[in-house]
């Protein structure tokens, strides 16, 4: 029976409202306990004058889908990719995340027909706990439901789909855009009905939000807004947010004290206001607590992979004569995907605006629990940029210094330079640990150092009480860069420079709490649909992944 005590650390644990208290953390058999069952064989770590925080959680990444392999393939031709991203191998991804204090990662976009690849990759992704969101926004089997609502029928099917594939929740991404088979065709109004379907894309955003709450899933619906990084996204974002607000839904998980309060999660929220004006979005979020978002920080890496299904973005890259090739796949009538590489540039005004949007949102949305720090890994940033991003949030000095190297035009026009607001260390812990856990609905066990939570924590070799986080930029950065200990379920995964990648992480999954009496009838209908129009039977989507890898969460 393994026991670990982390003694006398300065503990930050926002879920339990603990802000810099000196206390011991006890972990027995992987769980945090108030006292050990007995006093034998206790491993002790002295954390005096050190800071103890929960392990970090990435709420939006692309690390284990088929598209990630297309990136690796494209990257194998580019030295800068190979060197900077280390071929993006699963082991490297795990090590990079662990180094930065992460022990949970969400793969945010998996087509059901490719979910077995993600599951297989998950088993090869060491240490980290993980979960995947299924992209069902182009699922023809739900054609009638998207058209007529039919919450019971849709939820029955979606619940079964999660059970079969061991998914955790749902991503909505450019619904049915792939049904304009010509890649150059772009649509201009999400409220128009489609070429082949008798409902509009906005219907899918709306219905999926309803289904998600009917299902009672841990996480809310996870939404990408069509046309990102293009001016087209702005109006779409407004349209979608107001549409969802008009539904007057409340979170099916709001009755539990740590569970999520949002009904809608906006992915990489920095991507949509390409003019740099986030005031509408900030106001909307300050007025509507049932929405949350992740911030999508940009890291200005030497080269960035790009996985997307957003046709408009890809067309704009091609039109701008991107030197990088595109691998396009059309996945089993579940959507098109594009994989390519690109370079963000500090001298490019638009890139600077995208970078600044994350900060603008983080500094001006009042409720920290409505936001999560993300980097849209690997699309926007390497995870190794987290310490630098932290300093930008904590220190206006750091921000000003960073701005010196950015596009002059951008610096002249952007208000960020005048914003002296600084987040506290506690805020930073909310953004990277507690809020992602809450948003994902896993706050009872992750991002939390309270009783019965998983024993996942970081020990930073820094006394937060003794430094000024807005001034001692290098100290903060270094403590996050070389985290002294990363502990997962009571096991020391990282100590200084050595990382242990032998333990396996778990795959979190959920099929919700929805029950419906006509399940059999509905599933027979859906199975008929697959038999008629799919290359495989519906039942063939079932993964036979071993129970030892799985952790069910409802």
């Amino acid at each position: 029976m393994s026991k670990l005590i982390v003694k006398n650390g300065i503990v930050f644990d926002p879920i339990n409202k603990i802000e810099g208290e000196i206390k011991d953390i006890l972990i027995e058999n992987g769980k945090i306990v108030e006292r050990f069952s007995n006093q034998s064989d206790i491993k002790e770590i002295n954390a005096k004058n050190k800071t103890v925080i929960p392990s970090a959680i990435d709420i939006h990444s692309h690390i284990a889908s088929q598209q990630t392999n297309w990136l690796r393939l494209l990257g194998s031709k580019h030295k800068s990719f190979q060197e900077y991203w280390n071929n993006l191998s699963l082991e490297y991804i795990a090590k990079a995340y662990i180094s930065n204090g992460y022990t949970f990662i969400l793969e945010a976009n998996v087509y059901p027909s490719l979910s077995k690849q993600t599951m297989f990759n998950f088993t090869q992704l060491p240490v980290l706990d993980k979960a995947m969101l299924l992209n069902v926004s182009n699922i023809w089997a739900l054609e009638l439901e998207y058209q007529r609502e039919m919450v019971n029928e849709a939820s029955t099917f979606l619940s079964d789909l999660l059970l079969k594939t061991k998914g955790f929740g749902f991503k909505v991404y450019n619904p049915f855009e792939a049904e304009n088979w010509n890649f150059q065709k772009l649509r201009n109004d999400l409220t128009n009905k489609g070429r082949l379907f008798n409902f509009s894309p906005i219907d899918v955003y709306e219905k999926m939000t309803k289904y998600n709450e009917a299902l009672g899933l841990p996480h809310s619906v996870h939404v990408h807004v069509e046309g990102y990084e293009q001016s087209y996204a702005e109006e779409n974002l407004k349209l979608i947010l107001h549409k969802i607000k008009s539904l007057n839904l409340i979170s099916s998980k709001s009755n539990l004290n740590i569970n999520r309060s949002q009904i809608f999660h906006l992915a990489h929220a920095s991507s949509y206001n390409i003019d740099g004006d986030n005031s509408g979005l900030i106001k909307f979020y300050n007025d509507n607590q049932e929405f949350d978002l992740d911030l999508g920080f940009m890291g200005f890496d030497p080269i960035n992979p790009l996985i997307t299904s957003d046709r408009r973005l890809i067309n704009s890259l091609i039109a701008a004569e991107s030197p990088f090739k595109v691998i396009t796949t059309a996945v089993e009538s579940e959507g098109d995907t594009f994989s390519t590489l690109r370079i963000f540039n500090k001298q490019n005004e638009t890139d600077c605006i995208l970078w600044a949007n994350s900060l603008d949102l983080a500094l001006n949305i009042k409720n920290m629990w409505q936001m999560q720090l993300s980097i849209n890994f690997p699309n926007y940033s390497h995870i190794n940029k987290i310490p630098e991003i932290a300093t930008l949030l904590l220190s206006s000095n750091a921000r000003k210094k960073f701005l010196e190297n950015l596009n002059k035009e951008f610096v002249r026009n952007n208000k960020l330079i005048n914003n002296n607001k600084e987040l506290t260390f506690y805020d930073f812990i909310i953004l990277t640990r507690s809020s992602p856990a809450k948003s994902l609905g896993i706050g009872t066990v992750k991002g939390n150092l309270g009783k019965n939570a998983d024993g996942d924590l970081n020990i930073l070799n820094i006394n937060i009480d003794e430094i000024d986080t807005s001034k001692d930029i290098e100290k903060i950065k270094n403590s996050l860069k070389s985290i002294e200990y990363v502990i997962k379920e009571g096991k020391i995964i990282k100590k200084d420079d050595s990382i242990d990648i032998t333990p396996n992480g778990k795959i979190f999954w959920s099929s919700g709490t929805f029950e419906y009496e006509d399940k059999k009838l509905i599933m027979n209908r859906k199975k008929d649909f697959y038999q008629k129009y799919y290359s495989i039977f519906y039942d063939s989507l079932n993964t036979s992944i071993g129970n030892e890898f799985l952790r069910e969460f409802n």
């Binding site: 284990a64 088929q66 990630t68 392999n69 690796r72 393939l73 494209l74 990257g75 194998s76 031709k77 190979q82 280390n86 071929n87 993006l88 191998s89 699963l90 082991e91 027909s113 490719l114 077995k116 690849q117 297989f120 990759n121 090869q124 023809w140 088979w181 010509n182 890649f183 150059q184 082949l196 090739k325 595109v326 691998i327 396009t328 796949t329 059309a330 996945v331 089993e332 009538s333 129009y533 799919y534 290359s535 495989i536 039977f537 039942d539 063939s540 079932n542 993964t543 036979s544």
Partner: protein
């Protein structure tokens, strides 16, 4: 009667019905000839059921302990081992193969590199638009078999993509145009209807056709009046009209297009042509699909990419991956190896005499479930189960869709799976103090 997935080819049909009590397979329904043959392998009279070791120039039965020990001894002596094959193994076994290569500082690659992997290698240089079978079923109105004899290599492919009715193709075969470009009048030509287009190209002249089509895409009337590559000018115009007018076209790239050409890169030219057409295309799109023969030809690429960021040709030294320009052919050609391990493949039947004779000079360890020409030269033969019948595992269909294979019956004589054998070798090497 239970539904099962067929591992007879890379189409991985999941609609095969198998009657079995878990020990015997009584009946198999719905499989094609190739699938049937796969199931017949279980009881094939020539199947090897015991490990074999070459003694006095003949293969003799040996115990598993002895055969594995000999295998490990050979590997330990080897400084430059080659591992090749694995396209007829599960992804789990492919992972183990790579793990072994890393442990013994070997060079590993799969059959894909001399086959469909070439298309992916070129996609890195020119981009590619891929598609999948459900897409084709529901949307395709143009199917082009180019250098591929689907009727014999992937027998049920045309049933699924040509003779099916899809969501947007309710009239089925009637609305779909089939074009075949092939020098030989293959069995696939028998599926042609009146509106279809048969293009009997002069052997080896595909590249000329592609180049002229590319020119025609840039400037109309580039086709010489006498035609090109043995094809009539009007036929070429029809071909281009079909390609640029289709709502959803798919080109199945067969082995006929993968053979290397002097002074030009045919696949690259083809990918560029498809791109040019897609820019010109106003109605829909043209996509590509590849036709790997072995049932998990795509699996190794995916496993290797996610583990090491490389599609194939993994070269390990000091238990680290190395950058290399070598491939399996150059390694053999330059005799840059001192022992070879073949898994589920028969290189002696597939490689030219010049390579076979070089392979034969060094010890060959063969891990396979069938008799082959390579077996005649092997130093050690380790028989394995038939994946998809006697053991389960993950495989990637020809369109890169992951499909799980299921175990139907227990293997005869308790023979292990590819994965188990590779794992035993790894464990034995580790416990013996490594290489």
């Amino acid at each position: 009667m239970k539904r099962s997935v067929c591992s007879g080819c890379s189409l991985l049909c999941d609609d095969i019905m198998v009657k079995s009590d878990g020990i015997y397979i009584d009946e198999v329904f719905g499989a094609c000839l190739k699938g049937k043959e796969k199931f017949d392998q279980v009881t094939s009279q020539n199947r090897i059921l015991s490990p074999l070791i070459r003694k006095d120039d003949t293969l003799q039965k040996a115990s598993w302990d002895e055969a594995l020990q000999r295998t490990v001894d050979l590997i330990k002596k080897s400084k430059k081992p080659l591992i090749y094959g694995l396209s007829n193994s599960s992804c789990e076994a492919q992972l183990k193969g790579i793990e072994l290569a890393k442990l013994i500082n070997g060079f590993i690659d799969s059959n894909a590199s001399i086959c469909q992997g070439k298309v992916l290698d070129n996609a890195v240089n020119s981009g590619i638009t891929l598609t999948t079978i459900t897409e084709i079923i529901n949307k395709a109105d143009l199917i082009l078999l180019w250098g591929s004899n689907a009727a014999e290599s992937i027998p049920r492919l045309l049933n699924k993509v040509l003779f099916s009715r899809g969501k947007f193709r309710m009239t089925g075969r009637e609305i779909k145009t089939l074009i075949i470009i092939d020098p030989v009048k293959t069995a696939s030509f028998n599926t042609m209807g009146v509106r279809d287009v048969a293009l009997r190209i002069t052997p080896g002249k595909d590249i000329e056709l592609i180049k002229v089509l590319k020119e025609e895409c840039c400037a109309a009337d580039s086709i010489p009046s006498e035609g090109v590559a043995g094809l009539d000018k009007d036929d070429m115009k029809r071909l281009l009209q079909h390609l640029s007018g289709a709502e959803y076209g798919v080109i199945f790239v067969g082995q006929g297009l993968l053979t290397p050409q002097k002074n030009s890169n045919l696949i690259n030219e083809l990918l560029e042509l498809v791109q040019m057409i897609n820019i010109k295309q106003e109605r829909g799109r043209i996509t590509l699909a590849m036709m790997g023969g072995h049932f998990n030809m795509n699996g190794f690429d995916h496993v290797a990419l996610s583990m090491y960021g490389k599609r194939g040709n993994l070269h390990f030294k000091d238990n680290q991956i190395l950058e290399t320009d070598e491939n399996i052919i150059s390694k053999i050609e330059n005799e840059d190896f001192d022992c070879s391990i073949f898994i589920g493949t028969d290189p002696i039947s597939h490689f030219p005499m010049s390579l076979s004779s070089k392979l034969a000079k060094k010890p060959i360890i063969l891990i396979d479930n069938r008799n082959s020409a390579t077996l005649q030269l092997a130093s050690i033969v380790l028989p394995t189960t038939i994946t998809g019948i006697e053991c389960s595992g993950l495989a990637y269909r020809l369109d890169h869709i992951p499909i799980e294979l299921k175990k139907i019956i227990n293997p005869p004589s308790k023979i292990p799976t590819d994965e188990e054998i590779l794992n035993q070798i790894i464990q034995k090497l580790k416990s013996d103090g490594g290489n």
